[in-house]
């Protein structure tokens, strides 16, 4: 503890030194720039064009400004037209289905076209996919597409980017990312976000919660599912164990009782019981079973209580039990137990790969 304290002091000193040095340098600089008002983007910084405009306002008139805006608008339209033509030339089959360009280029959607940093969709190829990584089959075809198709999302404009305009939030450019998987409905169509920068290739990996084979957020993922198993159908596996849920999880859900105190008034061996709390006395007293009784065995001269769980009686027996070595006083009938139980404790494969028998007791 003392060592830790010293380390803390060293850390504090280091920070103090860093602060002192920082202030020293900044102070020196401030002396040189005391009269400079710093711009701060958090508050407001005029745009470069605005600054220029301010300086040249006297030279401009409203007609010129209007003409400039129109020219800019026309340039943008031309840009869109050129782009679309290039797409068709590059791949007629792919883009000919959208011949009615005028419809899709309706001004209500226009703002979003090409807004983003398109072209990042290329990352989608072979991108990482947390669902299908290390998988065969589906993964090889869809995982990569779905992965970082998301970078097409840089074409995203939350309101206007959608080439389809189906969904003001998730359509179009973001569809590239949606391809990986957010939009439950239109992610798969994100491919057309390509207008906004080709990000839409990610759309192939589109996640649809209603197709268990892709990924179903409401149930665990199943390999080999796909449309054939639609919807949400599980494969029929022969369970290796009857019960794999950790009892600790059940305790989370069903046990809201906590305690941070001992409930015995006497901690000496043997004869103690719940004496401090009547509620506990009736509610929990039967949890403690005497597993070793006073007897003539000198090694077991003391009596003490040990926790136990019985397969019958809900885990707890109402009668005192002796240890397994003394079977005479135990009147319970054992149920059939499962020697294949377990194997998935806590989500891990908890069956040892080197099974063996427990060594015999080495005690006296």
């Amino acid at each position: 503890m003392k060592k830790q304290h010293n380390l803390s002091l060293i850390g504090f000193n280091a920070i103090g030194l860093l602060m002192a040095c920082s202030f020293f340098f900044t102070s020196c600089t401030s002396l040189q720039q005391t009269t400079t008002a710093a711009t701060d983007d958090l508050y407001f910084t005029p745009s470069k064009e605005a600054e220029t405009t301010t300086k040249t306002t006297a030279k401009n008139n409203s007609a010129e400004a209007s003409a400039s805006e129109e020219a800019e608008y026309q340039d943008y339209q031309n840009y869109q037209d050129d782009r679309y033509l290039r797409l068709k030339v590059a791949n007629r089959n792919r883009w000919s289905s959208i011949d009615d360009f005028g419809y899709w280029n309706n001004p209500s959607f226009r703002v979003g076209f090409g807004m983003g940093y398109g072209g990042f969709g290329g990352f989608g190829w072979g991108g990482w996919d947390p669902f299908w990584s290390n998988r065969i089959g589906w993964a090889g075809y869809y995982g990569g597409f779905g992965g970082f198709g998301g970078f097409g999302g840089f074409g995203y404009d939350p309101f206007w980017a959608g080439a389809f305009g189906y969904d003001p939030f998730w359509g179009g450019g973001f569809g590239g990312f949606g391809g990986f998987g957010y939009d439950p409905f239109w992610g798969g169509f994100g491919g057309f976000g390509g207008y906004g920068g080709f990000g839409g290739f990610g759309g192939w990996g589109g996640w649809n919660p209603y197709f268990a084979g892709y990924w179903n957020p409401y149930r665990p993922i199943y390999y080999g599912g796909g449309v054939g198993n639609f919807p949400m159908q599980r494969n029929n596996y022969t369970p290796r164990a009857l019960q794999t849920s950790a009892p600790a999880l059940a305790a989370y859900r069903t046990n809201r009782n906590y305690n941070n105190a001992n409930n015995f008034s006497n901690t000496t061996n043997g004869t103690t019981r719940y004496t401090g709390n009547p509620t506990l006395n009736s509610g929990f007293g039967n949890l403690l079973r005497r597993v070793t009784t006073n007897n003539t065995n000198p090694n077991q001269a003391n009596s003490f209580d040990r926790p136990a769980r019985y397969f019958n009686n809900g885990g707890f027996s109402n009668s005192n039990q002796n240890k397994s070595s003394n079977s005479n006083s135990n009147t319970n009938t054992a149920p059939s137990v499962n020697n294949n139980a377990g194997g998935r404790s806590g989500g891990f494969n908890s069956s040892g790969s080197a099974p063996s028998s427990r060594p015999p007791r080495g005690g006296n």
């Binding site: 745009s47 019960q243 901690t267 061996n269 240890k323 998935r344 080197a354 080495g362």
Partner: protein, 518 residues
């Protein structure tokens, strides 16, 4: 030259040196670190912008950038924790210095296709640090850690063969070292399991857990400014998570001279590591109806993170005359290999509503002297979901169960953040902030008499100063976080209360950042 020296100083200070619901909560219930400016404001950056933390909080804030920025920050974190466990108080302390943020903003301050300006950012931020030590001990004559092993075997109806080999990270070790043993019926069949721990006479319990690692985000953000009124933004976020825990649990006889009760001690060691990375997105909008007012909304989609966990454990038990001192480890039962599990975790959705008011002198209304900002963040803690990467029924059942447990254990809640900044002159500014994170637990931690044992919360008070020129800026922040939480070292079946340690910790953060504007 001076800038370079400061940059070097910041860099040098950067680094000189069983799956449960809590696994999900670890990635959602924390006060995220940001830039020094953001930390000083309590994280209330949702409607402000012009700071690199925008990519991680509200990407629309990137739209305020009209000049480029390169930022590097470092932080020193000292955490002291106090525990009360069954009337015994314990304290721990841990500190570290590391890199806080590293990022760049590239701004285009010219009009472009309807946007007055746009900005693109790449930033790496450590948003949570898992370095801590939980250590507490006490005398317990009510329950034993060994009972969790009993219950695992009991609920699985496990026979001896299963007890020996199918729970190699816990119950099998307890069974093999004779910490637990079978109860036989009159015919010699297994009727149940018992522990050798004499709890009625009391045992010394010790829990000591070292955790390390961090949760980091790499964000690619974009923000656009529509006529200095409307700001839109989005970021693609890649979380990188690294978590390690070394757990030590022991129970020992209250009277070490008593060699006749067939129990002396047991020691259980568990080494756990979890590494994952994934992807998510954040979207935001900020509207500035007047020069003095901003309102914002940000939506953080669930992040999908693929994890690979490793686990190994060993146990040594001395049951005196019963079986003597026996050791067992998962390594020897698994050919030296750690246990491995792979799964995908989906973090909860977050939505943030925010507003800020900029105040100015009446004579210069367009030149703010400062602001006050507030964020209200809604988090669906119960929305954390686990998905098996192993396609078999057992895994599916387990993760179904885990997800149901998440829903039953956690709830939605609001986090409130308030921050203010005042310009002292054209270069210097002072900041202060506070934040309150409510309890994510659906139920209160009540004892058997319905007394509240602890109300989990996180409360942060922060302050800082900043110096800014047109070429560079330096920010310094101090914040203090008070965390209250409940640590449940093991959970037992419905009939028996689970023990609890009341935790109160204080984390002091020193945060410095240096940025270059271009």
């Amino acid at each position: 030259m001076k800038k370079i020296i400061i940059g070097i100083l910041v860099f040098v200070s950067a680094n000189l040196q069983a799956q449960s619901p809590e696994d999900g909560l670890r990635l959602s219930w924390f006060a995220p670190f940001g830039t020094p400016r953001s930390n000083a404001l309590g994280g209330a950056m949702g409607s402000l912008g012009g700071d690199m933390s925008a990519a991680h909080i509200n990407p629309a804030g990137l739209g305020f950038y009209k000049s480029g920025e390169l930022l590097i920050t470092s932080k020193y974190l000292n955490t002291e924790s106090d525990y009360n466990y069954i009337g015994t108080n314990s304290s721990t302390s841990k500190s570290l210095t590391n890199l806080g943020n590293l990022g760049i903003v590239i701004a285009d301050g010219k009009k472009n296709r309807g946007y007055s300006s746009t900005a693109f950012s790449i930033s790496f931020t450590q948003i949570a640090n898992f370095n801590s030590r939980q250590r507490f001990k006490g005398v317990n004559n009510f329950s034993s850690y060994s009972e969790k092993f009993l219950e695992e075997l009991y609920y699985d109806n496990a026979g001896m063969g299963a007890a020996e080999n199918n729970y190699i990270f816990g119950s099998s070790l307890a069974f093999r070292t004779f910490l637990i043993d079978t109860i036989a019926d009159k015919n010699g069949n297994v009727a149940g399991y018992q522990s050798l721990v004499p709890i009625s006479s009391g045992v010394n319990q010790t829990f000591d857990s070292y955790t390390s690692g961090s949760s980091n985000e790499l964000a690619f953000g974009w923000g656009g400014n529509v006529q200095d009124k409307l700001y839109l933004g989005a970021s693609i976020v890649m979380p990188f998570v690294n978590f390690n825990r070394s757990l030590y649990v022991s129970e020992s006889d209250l009277d070490p001279t008593n060699t006749t009760n067939e129990f002396s001690y047991f020691e259980f060691n568990e080494n756990f590591s979890s590494k994952g990375w994934g992807i998510g997105a954040k979207f935001g909008i900020i509207y500035k109806p007047e020069s003095f007012l901003r309102v914002g909304f940000a939506l953080h989609t669930p992040q999908l993170i693929g994890f690979r966990d490793r686990l190994s454990a060993d146990m040594t038990t001395n049951t005196e005359s019963y079986a003597g001192k026996v050791s067992a480890s998962s390594d020897e039962l698994n050919n030296g290999n750690a246990g491995l599990r792979e799964y995908t975790l989906m973090t909860p959705t977050k939505a943030t509503f925010s507003g800020s008011y900029f105040f100015a002198s009446p004579g210069k209304p367009t030149q703010p002297l400062g602001f006050i900002s507030a964020d209200i963040e809604w988090v669906n803690y119960a929305g954390t979901r686990f998905y098996a990467n192993d396609f078999d029924q057992e895994s599916a059942d387990y993760y179904d169960d885990l997800n149901n447990t998440m829903k039953a254990t956690y709830k939605n809640n609001l986090n409130i953040k308030i921050g203010s900044e005042i310009k002292l002159n054209s270069n210097w500014m002072a900041r202060a902030g506070t934040a309150y994170y409510g309890s994510p637990y659906k139920n209160e931690f009540l004892d058997e008499n319905d007394n509240v044992l602890v109300t989990p919360s996180r409360f942060i008070v922060s302050g800082g100063i900043g110096y800014r020129t047109n070429k560079y800026f330096v920010d310094f922040t101090i914040s203090s976080a008070t965390n209250r939480d409940a640590v449940v070292p093991y959970r037992l079946s419905p009939a028996k209360p689970s023990p609890i340690a009341q935790e109160k910790s204080r984390a002091v953060l020193f945060n410095i950042g240096y940025g270059i504007r271009f």
